[in-house]
Amino acid sequence: MQFSSTSSYIVADELALAVNAAVTLEKPLLIKGEPGTGKTKLAEELAASLGVPLLRWQIKSTTKAQQGLYEYDAVSRLRDSQLGSDKVHDISNYIKPGKLWQAFTAAERPVLLIDEIDKADIEFPNDLLHELDQMEFHVYETGEQISAKQRPIVIITSNNEKELPDAFLRRCFFHYINFPDADTLSAIVRVHFPDIQKELLQTALEVFFDVRKLPNLKKKPSTSELIDWLKLLLVESISPQQLKESDGLMPMFGALLKNEQDVQLVEKLAFMSRRRGS
């Protein structure tokens, strides 16, 4: 199988190579990159293009590795025992399979997305070493051994909030999504807005890259912000001329700049360049 750009997702050659290598060698693929460069979208598109189900495990700061394997609902068992339910005699009634379990036992090879792994506790990745390496684990309550029928395609994303342990990294392939260049970006935009005017797109991209180039921005706008902004521009039917001639802040700047200080900075710079121009 070869993963490549689809009608709704543009993938750079290196990324396609990374995905194909990870799929072929059955290794987890760790994806890092600026927020909004399509890390999560990659897993969705990969699953769609392979026509297999996507299992998404969204990691939060409170997520434990065990929750990905299974959870033993002891409290409802206690309740059932007090109510005298018959279910209580079979412990497996209270074992809830987690995402990894589901992925291991799925009928066809699924895509398992472990999203934002850096949000969890620093020990979290270490707790998954064996499970991701051998693709099997033991259920202590029932004595069952769950091992993968076929190794799922594992995509892991990280926003770099915490460092991941070396031992974990060694078991993954690693790809860093670079911010796309102007050509790739316009290809991406055209996928989302096939009917967009060429002129508007070009002007918008110029403005966008100008903003990204500004030093000291707290949050650089990324692809997803660009898409949102263009959507607004289209909805408000703003012409390329309006965009070019806008004094100070660009129209609908709220979609691009998410930080008060950034807005002020852009405003100030626009003011200065206007003074210089006049």
């Binding site: 050659d13 290196e14 190579l17 990374a18 194909n20 290598a21 072929t24 060698l25 290794k27 760790l30 890092k32 033993y72 002891a74 409290v75 068992r77 206690l78 025992s81 506790d121 620093i122 770099n160 909030e161 915490k162 460092e163 070396d166 990294l169 060694r170 993954c172 392939f173 690693f174 790809h175 860093y176 670079n178 000291n216």
Partner: protein, 395 residues
């Protein structure tokens, strides 16, 4: 295979392991990429490097190792069984039959190598590259040009070299100076020592769970106290020679602000004396006596000095040495007092480390800090944090 390349990477300070090399070899064997240096570059990086701050090193190592490789006869360099397998995969049965009539795969491979040689020479001679279609016997068999891609490899390699020569990840290298993003990355490591300690606190959730599991028999569970309230006291050197580093200090300050809930900061000039202050414009009216600073903040605060420590030696060693006012006691004495109180301390110096030896005052401060002075680079900050961590666990 690729052993020399592996050692070249290690020489450049990449902590690549043998398992990762095996992964790369496995990927090559499975033909994830085939005879395309640029794709090989990406594959090698994918499998061997797991941190974007190491990408630049990888680029340099790759450039060093592959300098000249592009001139190597690729047909010889590629193991024959790889070629053979790839060709066979792409030939249909019909093709294979035809092939047999022409002397078999060995003959074809030989001819292929000759052709490759010829074309490379011609290319090197400066003629326009001749397409592999048309006159090529391979094209006549109608198999996908994928196999003949090797023929293009010479040109591919030349283009690919640029990919690593661009060194677009230079900004992220640990040795390079800090930028906003990398600063954040470095400070994030400070979170590590936020969760330590022994299990002394009752874990209510776990107790309930364990008790339920034992069908009502009380089972107490304990957990470690959460120490994620790291307390940091930062003292910034301002003015004079520090003006060159305003940008770096701002970045560090901003990053620290985001990272720590308990962050206190004060300014000093060149060396710490009896006063520090919090607002530069009111530095002479609203000062805090250093003694009070010591009394106000407990020993659990981690003290980070930020300064270039570049001054006259007398500013540290003698009473009255300060350039701004008459100080009754020498800076060194005040430094010592601070360090006696805040046992967890480090000094970050924005001066490039190579220049340190030229300033006697840096030596003196270095000594005062008992060697805990680090350059203000990603690596330096990481080291400083490791030091702060070590003193924590020693307690």
């Amino acid at each position: 295979m690729l052993i020399a390349f592996f050692f070249c990477l290690r020489k450049h300070g990449l902590k690549t392991s043998i398992t990762e090399l095996m992964d790369l070899l496995a990927a090559l064997e499975r033909q994830v990429v085939f005879a395309d240096v640029e794709a090989f570059y990406h594959l090698a990086r994918l499998t061997l490097v797991k941190d974007e701050s190491q990408f630049d090193r990888f680029d340099r190592a790759f450039a060093e190792y592959f300098e000249g490789v592009e001139q190597v006869d690729l047909a010889d360099a590629i193991p024959e069984d790889w070629l053979r397998r790839s060709l066979q995969r792409q030939l249909s049965d019909e093709d294979k039959a035809k092939l047999q009539s022409l002397g078999g795969l060995d003959e074809l491979l030989k001819a292929f190598k000759e052709r490759l040689q010829e074309q490379q020479e011609r290319h090197a001679g400066g003629n326009k590259w001749i397409g592999t279609g048309g006159s090529s016997p391979f094209g006549a068999y109608g198999y996908h040009p994928e196999g003949i891609r090797i023929g293009q490899d010479g040109s591919n390699a030349r283009r690919a070299v640029k990919v690593w020569d661009k060194r677009e990840f230079r900004d992220l290298d640990s040795d390079s100076e800090l930028n906003n993003r990398s600063m954040q990355l470095a400070l994030r490591k400070l979170r590590k020592f936020a969760r330590t300690g022994s299990a002394e606190e009752l874990d209510l959730d776990a107790t309930i769970r364990a008790t339920s599991q034992k069908a009502g028999l009380l089972d107490l569970k304990w957990q470690a106290e959460r120490h994620n309230a790291v307390k940091v006291l930062m003292l910034f050197d301002v003015g004079g020679s520090m003006d060159d580093y305003i940008y770096e200090c701002q970045q560090l300050f901003g990053a620290a602000r985001n990272e720590f809930k308990h962050l206190e900061f004060y300014y000093f000039h060149n060396c710490v004396y009896e006063h520090v202050w919090q607002a530069n414009e009111r530095r002479f009216s609203e000062k805090l006596p250093t003694r009070e600073l010591i009394n106000k903040y407990g020993r659990d605060y981690k003290l980070i000095f930020v300064g270039d420590a570049t001054m006259g030696p007398y500013e540290i060693a003698y009473p009255g040495g300060s350039v701004e006012h008459w100080n009754e006691e020498a800076g060194a004495i005040w430094m010592q007092r601070l360090l006696n109180h805040f046992s967890q301390a480090a000094w970050l110096n924005p001066q490039p480390q190579e220049h340190w030896q030229w300033h006697h005052s840096i030596d003196m401060v270095h000594e005062l800090m008992a060697g805990r002075m680090y350059p203000m680079t990603l690596d330096g900050i990481s080291q400083a944090i490791t030091t702060l961590q070590r003193t924590t666990s020693a307690k």
